[in-house]
Symmetry: D3
Subunit: 302 residues, 6 copies
């Protein structure tokens, strides 16, 4: 996606300048993994124009493989961002309707070919949120990956502003989770996406993790295909001061990390993607899941 | 429309900055007329978001009446612009599919109410080029304006990159011209839009106007509803050096202006809109059409 | 006024760029009220030049009525601003001598005409601080407003750097307060402007409000014309971390708000004006004054 | 003076940024002379604030002696500049009323002390144009310089927008010319400032210099105190394409330079000041006046 | 190399901003070839730091293979650029002493491995100009390429400011030319680099090409290993208006292109590199050398 | 040195812009002293190019005497800076090898002439860290200054990334300290530079100063030539939130300052130089060393 941001803390169009960068949850993860030294390919649909070529050039700059990107459709999804200040929250305006990915169909990607030689497939709950065909596409990819023996990780990544094409998030996500090995979720994602009724504290106090221990245990029960459930915990003190923590349950136990005070946040969008990338890297490179989790939370906070 | 332009002569995304301004043929004419001291209202459809509010704020800044703008639909039409340099031409990427205006329907605007108390309606060939419903809308507006006794001006403004919804330009524009009093056209617009076969020099040599005399005469014959045909003549020497001239035929005769050398062009988009605004202003304020034409070409070249 | 600010935290003229925006206490209030959805007109004097036209365009962008602005005099008041950092305080250089407003005279504005159909008049202690004629003008406006039955609000807004034309602030402000219904004041404004000797804590500890209860009570005694006294309380922890609170006394009682921690302040100038606008909005739209006060302090802190 | 310019070819306040630099005819000459390696001091009045300190710092950066600058008065003269484009001319808004120099008086500068050890005094027709006291000050300086044996050069520099304090330019400038050794003038300056009725071509065709030969001869007759009359000839083809030439008459003859085509003009303000500095440098360093003139026109065109 | 340029036409350090881009003759050719769709690898030495990583990222963005870049040495060569305006010429300050490439040695690159599977090697006269070891390296590469059957092209690219390590250009370049198949030269490069005494017009009038016919013929005689000699002809009318042409001699004849007027030059550095890339592309893709030459001069002028 | 910094918190080359300023420990001290009103000269070696001239211009702007700067050598030392954010630390890339100062020799500066009429010489441990010749030069300067009766201050300023020319810091600095009257050191500088084994807390808790009392006492014992040892104490809470304190021992006692909370740090580089300048100013202007120390720490924190 193209991200168009007002400079600094400016309101939308306060000055006639926008900062144009490329982002999106899966793109961020691919770029981070490549920066960490892994071979990463990014699979999406992009239109046949120079804006899309700029996205591809940016991915190449970071060494991400762009060979599987389909050039089709009308437009690149776009969103506008205005950074908050003091009590004024950040604002996002989505302009992603009718994007190439939004209108891509299941048959447009030959997943068998794409996954040839790959060991891991990561996707998020954002793609299935934008259209029925994108949801179908995601399920197809996950099923194929699973069949071919790839490790499949899914970041629930619930965004209430999306999910407008008629399906409820709980109609779609539980089916997807059944095809994942690793699930990443924020504090409320499990309730929102999976309809789980375990109680988590409504006040965002990330110091007590007991509830999350129970929540993650329940997840492994309900979705026995999952090997790992990782939960990110973010407490927003102000628009540029957060506290970050995380916990993880695998079949051997429940682990949590320290709490990190993160102030002077340059750009909060993307911390969760950094966590996902760090976790994938860690699970591939460290000998225990606790270490992978510690690495993941550091990536999120940097 | 939102116009996103690379700074200076930069290529697309060479730097992470875009200059964001608002434009579009009819908007430019409305703003110019307001700057010239006339009361102008701008009628369009815009989505319910802050980007659209910025458009409206900008119109208000110039004193344009925005009360008739409908807030509906999904998005604001957008285009990307890269300014040419030397032999490298300027480039435009349209991202206007599914814009609010594109998807607006005939019934969305109550033209009788909108035209209440107005004396002039100006529109262009760009709106009917983007969708069938926008073409229907334009015809409806022109018919109503004509019935209510407004002067109706139409700038043919042919853009080959548009007209993708199935209809050919010659299926649509001749019918619209029948509801206009004043037609503005570029050198090739009459051939392209109206299928007229009068010969005009293929090499853009604006020094000889004989052909344009014949062309405009033919137009008044074919479309007897027209009182005035004004033709803009632009010769592009290089990306920032043009020559501008124009001619006009009314029922009394054929007039032409001097040729203006226009170098150091800051922004070529919009010169034709300046011409249209200048002509409308001139026809309302000067006692003869030759004077109005001279004023119009000065507005185009400033 | 034209505000010329060094970019970011730069010292004056460290780079050859200045950020030019338009401000001033009354202008900020008018703009905020218009943003909140009220009909607001801004009355001032501005010179006949393009700088002034830019101010007017900016007001129009926000929907503020500019029809009563007089175009006369030599210049627009200007000030230079350098944002502080760490222990280095912000700096302001005023260049507002001989501004159009400064040299405007009582007869220049026909208040009866201006107030026709209006319900509220808001002014501040800044205008009477710049010249004798501006003070006379302010008194004339307040008297007329009162006679015509408008609600009159006055923000004392004491600025020691102004008040250079010979009169002491205490010679002028008490008379003005006599023509107001609502008075807004900062912690020390009452002492400075009105010579009141009630003790308020010298250390800016906004947690204890007892003194302000006494202070506001005394104000209602001394100025029986006042219905409401609102006091803003700001504690400056550092150049970009403040604490904000406020209290209000009306004939029914004394109310105070929570304390808001406001960090990452983008631009501290204008928080007081946001309070005034919020209070005016709240008093017009909420059924009790406590609610209006809560709304006002939120506007100040956003 | 502080010069506040819109970026590039932007209209005033099109973006919220202004480029702030320091200029003014005499300041430009002082800076240029210092750059050329001569010892130059700049004498003016500036207020006691940080804006003025920035001017002084900038002068020091170029090695100009700032010891004789008086710190007094209210403000620094300011002007706003918008660069033209195509047929749109550049625009200047002066905001120099009540500047420190404008309100400085004859007694404020001890010229005997200032000129101690100096060999040359250069001034222009801009200072006497802003106020009676500044005109008196200029005359006082020129008289003292002459008495002390300095060479005195005066650039007529006629600006019609100034001269608003009651005196006509022809009431003031002839008296000043009587105290100069060298006079620099643009094509029309002699007629405008000195009321000379020699005919010069109204169309700015700088290719024929005959008229200027006659004009300069007449000047030496009328003002026998003058040793040199230098005339700058500038033909403006477009806002960024000029032609420059010049001629000079001394007691030995009449000389002229080649015509220089000057395109891609970054900033036209200051070319005349470059000419003056080049001439002063040339007259001090070359053995004949023709060579000095050639050097001067090169400085103007660079 | 890192290129640090003052913004627009600013003088060095007039503002505290520099535009940082990466360039250099061979890098420009590699990037252009990759843009044109050929597989290109760029071979150089770069230090182990983030500045070098940014160069590599930028190359990757354009699809250039960076696998053969050696990470060694102390620094990246840098140069400062100030764009000229009117009569003021552009200025370059080289800061490339002790760069990684400058201090690289013959043994540092295994050319046999690098050239494995390649069809073409292009180099320029800039590398041998910076140090003895870089000259040795270049010769080694050319010899190996020739032995392995690659086509070898050499752009003489004479820069007088370089060549400071003790050797004269004529001591080094003739030997290199003996190992090339295709030589590219500017008007004076043959005289300067190869000591050829054929007369070429001293005034840069590119309209007459006879001399260049003779010059190129002589080159094929003296260096029978050459198949093609291409000469670029550039006439600088002003700092942003050039005229470009070129001619080429092969064993079948002598060809020349039209003259292109190139105004509004955004950045003149790199036009020659565009020519070289265009020629390499053309010779690989077109069936005759004249067509390749036409393509090359268009690339130079775009 | 030239400092090239990414804008705001951008990563290196994230955008194509660098902020170019001039810095370096001794330059910062000279500029600060001049700002405080003392006469300061800056002595260094700079190449003969426009980059160096910009440094000199900048020094002159602040009134620093630049007459003793030698123009010799190849290049100006450069470093690249990227400001940290949250947990991401700031990064510095040095590119100062082969700078003019680095390659200057003892005989290049005539210290007797330079120190003529001077009262104070300040230098730092950075210069002796860059090359053997620079270390020799520093010793020569300190010896001469001592002989001529100047007060000599030395800021140890240990930077581990430098010291690459073969000598260990402890081979060089102790000898230099023997020629100083006043030594300034950070918490660990004494251990690192002088090999002192007094224990200081490894966790940077600046609240307890006992260890520093012992450390400074030992310094006066070991180096009886020293009259004053000043220690700066900085605790880095986050990349833009520090705590600052300092202590000082002279022959009469041990003093310490309050702790200053310094948040919203615009630019942390240079705080230590501000301390040094403040201390020198204070020792010259206040009647006791405690007062000088208080002033110094305020300068550091502003």
């Amino acid at each position: 996606m193209l991200r168009l941001k007002s400079p600094g803390h400016d309101r939308f169009f306060q000055s006639p300048t926008l900062e144009a960068t490329f982002g999106g949850a899966e793109l961020n993860v691919a770029t981070s993994l490549s920066n960490l030294g892994l071979n990463a390919a990014y699979v999406t649909a992009l239109p046949e124009n120079e804006v899309a070529e700029a996205v591809i050039g940016e991915l190449k700059r970071f060494g991400v493989d762009t060979d599987f990107i389909k050039r089709q459709g009308e437009r690149l999804g776009t969103y506008y961002l205005e950074a908050g200040a003091s009590l004024r929250p950040s604002r996002v305006i989505y302009d992603r309707a009718h994007s190439s990915l939004c209108e891509a169909n299941k048959g447009d990607f030959n997943w068998r070919e794409i996954f040839e030689g790959a060991a891991w497939f990561h996707t998020t709950g954002i793609t299935p949120a934008i259209s029925q065909s994108a949801a179908d596409l995601t399920l197809d990819a996950m099923e194929t990956a699973q069949e071919m023996g790839l490790t499949v990780s899914l970041d629930l990544n619930y965004r209430g502003k999306l999910w407008k094409y008629g399906k409820d998030v709980t109609d779609v996500m539980p089916e997807l989770v059944k095809h994942a090995d690793i699930m990443i979720a924020g504090r409320e994602d499990c309730q929102k996406c999976l309809g789980v009724d375990v109680d988590v504290p409504t006040i965002e106090d990330i110091s007590s993790l007991d509830h999350f221990g129970a929540l993650s245990e329940k997840m492994l029960d309900v979705y026995p295909n999952l090997n790992i459930v990782a939960i990110t915990l973010r407490q927003s003190i102000s628009s540029d001061y957060h506290r970050w923590s995380s916990c993880l349950r695998d079949n051997d136990g429940f682990y949590s990390t320290d709490i990190f005070e993160v102030n002077n946040i340059v750009d909060r969008v993307g911390a969760g993607d950094g966590f996902a990338a760090g976790l994938i890297y860690g699970l591939n490179n460290y000998d225990n899941n606790k270490k992978a989790l510690d690495f993941a939370v550091c990536c999120a906070a940097s």
